[in-house]
Amino acid sequence: MPALPLDEAGKYVAGAYGVFVVLLLVYVAIMATKLQRIERELQLLTRLAEKRRTERT
């Protein structure tokens, strides 16, 4: 097949790089959700530890 003109090829190139960026962003969003969960659990444990310390004293 002959080479596509720039305006035609540009759509495909943008699509390919766009897919890469979107996948990366989705991954970052998933990791951010996981981080939030870790943070919540850490807060919970901190409160638990605080409660235990108060009970001891």
Partner: protein, 254 residues
């Protein structure tokens, strides 16, 4: 408790990845010439091929981690093997999608079944997709780790064999990038490709480290929670120590 710090060096790695990815994109669009045969659409090559190479190398590295696990029985190697395969599958999805887009633009079809390179990559990808049901169908942690490692080693050995088999077959239309003649790439294209490949490898390593650090943190939190629930005194001491580490989002007031 496992004292491995998976997040060590993560910041430097992340910065290097971002800088090199930026440089790679700049080289792709402002330095590398358009391909004489394919024109502008060949720019997809600089994202598609590095993704494929890094994904396949990741599968082989996962096999190495699997061997390390079977030799030492340490859980950290199984975790590393799992995360590496997981990341290679994500990269594999990107390879298939970017490849299909390129195929549509260049050949007029989203997929070509009589091209060994495409089909062999799909076979490898589908093989590794079966890793998830295998891993999550086994409840016992040690047995799961052993079986997963055995899978990683077997499938990892299949990757180079598959690569060689494809090389030996007669290619119909898929271009060869890495060949004994240097892949017929001019200097600017070669430099751009190498930078893109290194950038992709760094990105892969960064994401693997992030995932490992996150998994490790969750495991430590789970262990801490169990300790707090089972042995109040010891658990409280651990939690206090954890919460008073600087730069944590919450801290226990004195």
């Amino acid at each position: 408790m496992d004292d491995t710090l998976f997040g060590k060096g993560l910041r430097a790695l992340a910065i290097a990845s971002v800088l090199l990815l930026g440089a790679a994109i700049a080289l792709v669009f402002f330095y590398a010439p358009n391909d004489a045969d394919q024109g502008f659409i060949q720019k997809i090559f600089y994202v598609h091929v590095p993704l494929a190479i890094v994904a396949l190398v990741g599968f082989v590295v996962a096999a190495g981690f699997g061997i390390a696990h079977l030799r030492s029985r340490e859980q950290k190697w199984d975790q590393a093997s799992y995360v590496t395969i997981h990341m290679s599958i994500i990269f594999g999805v990107a390879v298939l999608v970017t490849g299909s887009i390129w195929a549509k633009g260049s050949w007029g079809k989203w997929w070509v079944w009589d091209e060994p390179t495409l089909v062999s990559f799909l076979i490898v990808f589908l093989l590794y997709v079966t890793y998830y049901p295998l891993r999550y169908s086994i409840e016992d942690r040690d047995r799961r780790a052993r079986y997963s490692s055995a899978f990683a080693i077997t499938a990892g050995a299949f990757v180079p064999v598959n690569f060689i088999a494809v090389r030996l077959s007669e290619s119909l239309i898929h271009p060869r990038v890495l060949s004994t003649t240097g892949g017929h790439m001019p200097g600017e294209m070669r430099l751009t490709f190498i930078v893109s490949l290194v950038a992709m490898a760094l990105l892969y390593a960064t994401l693997v480290k992030v995932e490992l650090a996150s998994k490790h943190a969750r495991m430590q939190l789970r262990a801490l929670r169990r300790a707090l629930e089972d042995e109040p005194a010891e658990g409280a001491a651990m939690a206090t120590a954890l919460a008073t580490v600087p730069a944590r989002p919450v801290s226990v007031p004195d």
